[in-house]
Amino acid sequence: MIVFSNVNKWYGHYQALADINAEVRKGEVVVVCGPSGSGKSTLIRTVNRLEEIKSGELLFEGQNVHAPMSSTELNRLRSRIGFVFQSFNLFPHLSALDNVMLSPMHVAGVKRGDARDKAMQLLDRVGLAAKAMSYPAQLSGGQQQRVAIARALAMEPPAMLFDEPTSALDPEMVGEVLAVMRSLAKDGMTMMCVTHEMGFAREVADRVWFMDAGRILESAEPETFFRNPQHPRAQRFLSDLRSH
């Protein structure tokens, strides 16, 4: 569903992504892990073209994401890819409900009443129906991120991207966000998650990609990856994680 072939990206002379060849299949959950600065976030942000690539090809549902296209086409493409940010990025001037209703109404042209019903369903799904009228400032970090997930789901995207969704959260709020992600995975959503939550990776992921210095060094099923990592850099990464 998401296919990277020979994707390269540079920031000036620094190569952020190097020869990325990988695929996320439909219904699959891929966890991208690796040390910070390894290019995980850059990689996930190329999928909906928040970052441009230098060379190579990136297909989303067969469509070449980085081909020249009109801005209308790009907007339509982006609306089919749910994106969840580390810093939530809820719109602080809108209530939780309005945050979720905004793009269905203004991008998809759904009528207000229908958008409202749908948004309430989604907020209910992330356990926040009671907070529909609250503004982001009144919600905890975990609640904000769950609203952000509902907002991304509102356009009914066939795939969801998560860029370190729990990294900005207090530890006691990580669980509630992971629970929502887990239930999405269970419902068969195609997901690509950059995360440091190795428990989540082990339990939910179909594949783990390990990245360092802009390359995917290892791609394996979680059991194999965690029990028997092949690449020395991955072995060191995992032992560093275990040591604390």
């Binding site: 609306s79 990025n89 952000a148």
Partner: protein
Amino acid sequence: MNSVFEILRDNWLLLLVGQYPNGPLGGIACTLILSVLGIVLAFPLSVLLALARLSHWRLLNWPAGALVYIVRGVPLLMVILWVYFLVPLLIGRNVTGFVTMLCTLVIYEGAYLAEVVRAGIEALPKGQMEAARSLGHSHLGAMRLVILPQALFNMLPSMLSQFVSTIKETTLGYVINVPELTFAANQINNQLLTKPFQVFFILAVIYYVLCWSLTRAATALERRIEAKRAGPRATVAEIRAAGLVQPVAAEP
């Protein structure tokens, strides 16, 4: 002090509306209409200028930047004189001092407000635009629905202080015979001849009261919007807390 009240008693109508209905509307009414129209018409211009300044498209970006820099780089009086002599040439007939002053204020305030709007937009976290774009909103759609509502709210105090400046700037209309408040006061002074301090004391007090009450109104308005954002059932303490916590919670 007595003479102040005497002057007020004899001339309050002139100070309030000028020669109206026997002549053009003037005095405080003229000053207020000029300021309000000036800022109201300058506002959309300033948003367009700011968007053009932020555009990656040079055809928009450069002319807007040039206009803003030129207008901000010359004194208001210079713009007044330019408009005064240039507009009749351009449209081929004379215009009233009021229209001249209004055009000047729209251009001048438009350029200043454009920088306020631009700063307001640039001060928002980058993630707001990214989130809107990744949901599929167009650049302009994201501006209209996500960026501008926040930026303009954050700018409310600056915009009101700009409005207060505008009120003060209308006094310069005096040089091209706009019958605003300063002009009216000067008429009174010319009649009385011997009481300039009293007359201009009254003038100063009127301007002060106008501007001070507007500043107060701005503060009250800001509080109300903040209270609304803090939620319908929030207590005063929560409102205060939300006002303080908000930027941190929105962008940790």
